[in-house]
Amino acid sequence: MNPSPASEAGYATRNYLNLPATGLRSWLRTLDHKRIGVMFLVAVSVAFALGGFFALLIRLELLTPGPTVMDAMTYNRVFTLHGVIMIFLFMIPAIPSGFGNFLLPIMLGAKDVAFPRLNLLSFYIYLAGAAVAIWGMIHGGADTGWTFYTPYSTTTTTRVVPVLLGAFIIGFSSILTGLNFIVTTHTMRAPGMGWGRIPLFVWGIYATSIIQVLATPVLGMALLLVAVENAFGWGIFDPARGGDPVLFQHFFWFYSHPAVYIMILPAMAVISEVVCAFARKNIFGYKAIAYSSLGIAFVGFFTWGHHLFTSGQSTLTGGIFGVLTMFVGVFTAIKVFNWTATLYRGSISFKTPFAYFVGFLFFLVFGGMTGVALATLSLDVHWHDTYFVVAHFHFIMVGATVMGFLAALHYWWPKITGRMYHEGWGLVGSVLVVLGFNFTFIPQFLLGNEGMPRRYFSYPERYWALNVASTAGASVLAFGLVLVLVVILVSLRWGRAAGPNPWGSAGFEWNTPSPPPPENYHETPVFTRGPHEYHHEEPGGSPPAGPEPKA
């Protein structure tokens, strides 16, 4: 992986990448949380590329009003594949299982997660689930959309059962990782690491883990019931046998709405770290950000009904769910105000991760506000199942979450690989991604508002111009993402050595060498300060000395 001379200054040669061994076997059997994190990152990146490929197929098909490159049935399969891959294979595991695995123990001063074997098992369960789902997609492919709504999903002739089982299996990976992180945060903190000193990234991952552990079993059971229904006709969701299809929607969204927070909370967690590091300033409201993550995790369990506004639930129930949903907006706003207040009188260094932070902030606020609009019952009846909804959740899922993922990738790349990417090209990539994203999804807001329904294969000619704009934006976005990939891959071979702390960050993870040694710290660290404290809050101020080795 690293052909440069071993003696290069700033590159720690005694690191987790080459110890205990460099062979494939040692990676596949590793119990090191850093290696497992890296393997997750590679796997989710492949999934992201695959899901992105299907997204481009969707946009290509919608380039013209009638059939463009595929028939309607293929189109249904393609958007299902896109949704299933992006949600279950990429977004849910991306930041927690990838970066969380790598960073959480280091940030807590631990040598590893609490259950390293379970951690590796989680990775293999993920691979197994992905294999089952992809096998189903190749042999038949579900055409239900990622939501698997009954009664269609129980009567369709496409091969929906393997896809359901794949998602069910991946759920266990998610549960095990969440369980591992909760226990690690409770029991593995190094001396001096009180609850008030836990880095905000860990707080976000911790809140995410609670949702993963408590919500995922419900999805697992619901998907299993659909599979039983589809394969054996037991009637649980079949109106012809007295079953209630809307009950499935309740079960499904009881998980899948909190799952939105499984996807966005880790991105918020990344941003809390990035904003401090590049404003060179302590976070404005540590407790406010930490507790608002828990607040989102909590209230997220009581908002699922906003997906059922038009499914025959009473107006009163709808109104209650609408108001509860708006609480998420309150907690999110608390975070946004704290991030922006952190910038005030900071010394901003406009590096690539910061560029993604700026994009993130815009997308989150825009996506969040349209979310509050959608939570308003009377408005949602108009927008329900239109491209307005598609644009809204892509602003959060792609806009905010992927920006968080890319910010994390650039911010922690030097720590993970020990190499710096090219800053100028990194910035070019970020600008392309942010602009391409805007061009893709802002037209979709307009399309939805004019009434274009989602998941349709063709559309009337009056929607043509905006669809062309959206497809053009998608190509810019794809080009930007490919550029990002090239830039970081090039750095693996030609990047200069990063040194332990290239950003001058106060985060604890920067106190270990880059790449970190297998045991993370040479000696058990003792923490004597908060995670985001900069002594000199003026231009060029340096972070304080890190955790001191035990005497």
């Binding site: 029991t187 593995m188 552990v213 079993p217 019931l225 037991w234 007295g242 079953g243 009950l247």
Partner: protein, 214 residues
């Protein structure tokens, strides 16, 4: 920390003390049990919804079950939980063989439970009291009856799977305890196996009134 031979053998490299390691294991187990509860919660919620929609059909189908079998099985499971608790007590005073005997007794009681379940299931199969499209019974054949049997088999089936897993865990841990794998100082696997079995028991405590009594 001053390590002694009994503890260092079980201490993983990334923990600073056995005490912390055992705390982590217990916390992890409790979280896992929470996920198990939520797994069953979906089925209980489904049962509640359909019981509300098809009250009389569910009541009739429920009354057709042999309450005495459910009652005997409840007693069997509660007794097995008692023997598991006693087994845990034996290892905490260092008696691995006692743990083994009591755990094996619990496994035996698990077989008794499954035996009664088999008697019940075969009766349902013969009577055509089956889920969804397989329902062929002519007595208590209201529109909600196939749904009752769907939920009945889902809930008791999933519980039965958990009983089998629990018995396997108890057998393995009991066997290892008999070979002296655990001691008075280190017996957290015995504790975790016991916790799992108690959960399986506890879920039945909810299943029994839900399906047989109300």
């Amino acid at each position: 920390m001053r390590p002694d031979s009994a503890t260092t053998a079980h201490l993983a490299h990334h923990f600073e003390s056995l005490e912390k390691q055992q705390h982590a294991a217990r916390l992890g187990m409790w979280l896992f049990l929470a996920t198990e509860v939520l797994l069953f919660t979906v089925l209980f919620a489904g049962y509640a919804v359909y019981r509300y929609l098809f009250g009389p059909d569910f009541a009739a189908a429920s009354r057709s079950l042999a309450t005495w079998i459910g009652l005997v099985n409840t007693v069997v499971l509660v007794t097995s939980s008692f023997t598991v608790a006693m087994g845990f007590h034996r290892i905490s005073i260092g008696d691995g063989k006692g743990t083994r005997n009591l755990f094996f007794l619990s496994v035996l009681l698990g077989f008794v439970f499954l035996g009664f379940k088999y008697v019940e299931y075969s009766h349902h199969f013969l009577a055509g009291e089956l889920p969804g499209r397989y329902f062929t019974s002519t007595v208590n054949a209201g529109p909600g009856a196939p749904l009752f049997w769907a939920l009945y088999f889902l809930i008791t089936g999933l519980h039965g799977v958990h009983v089998v897993i629990g018995m396997t865990v108890l057998a393995v841990v009991g066997w290892k305890a008999g070979r002296g794998a655990y001691s008075r100082e280190y017996h957290v696997p015995v504790e975790l196996a016991g916790l799992y079995w108690h959960l399986v028991d506890l879920i039945w405590i909810f299943v029994f009134p839900l399906i047989y009594l109300i």
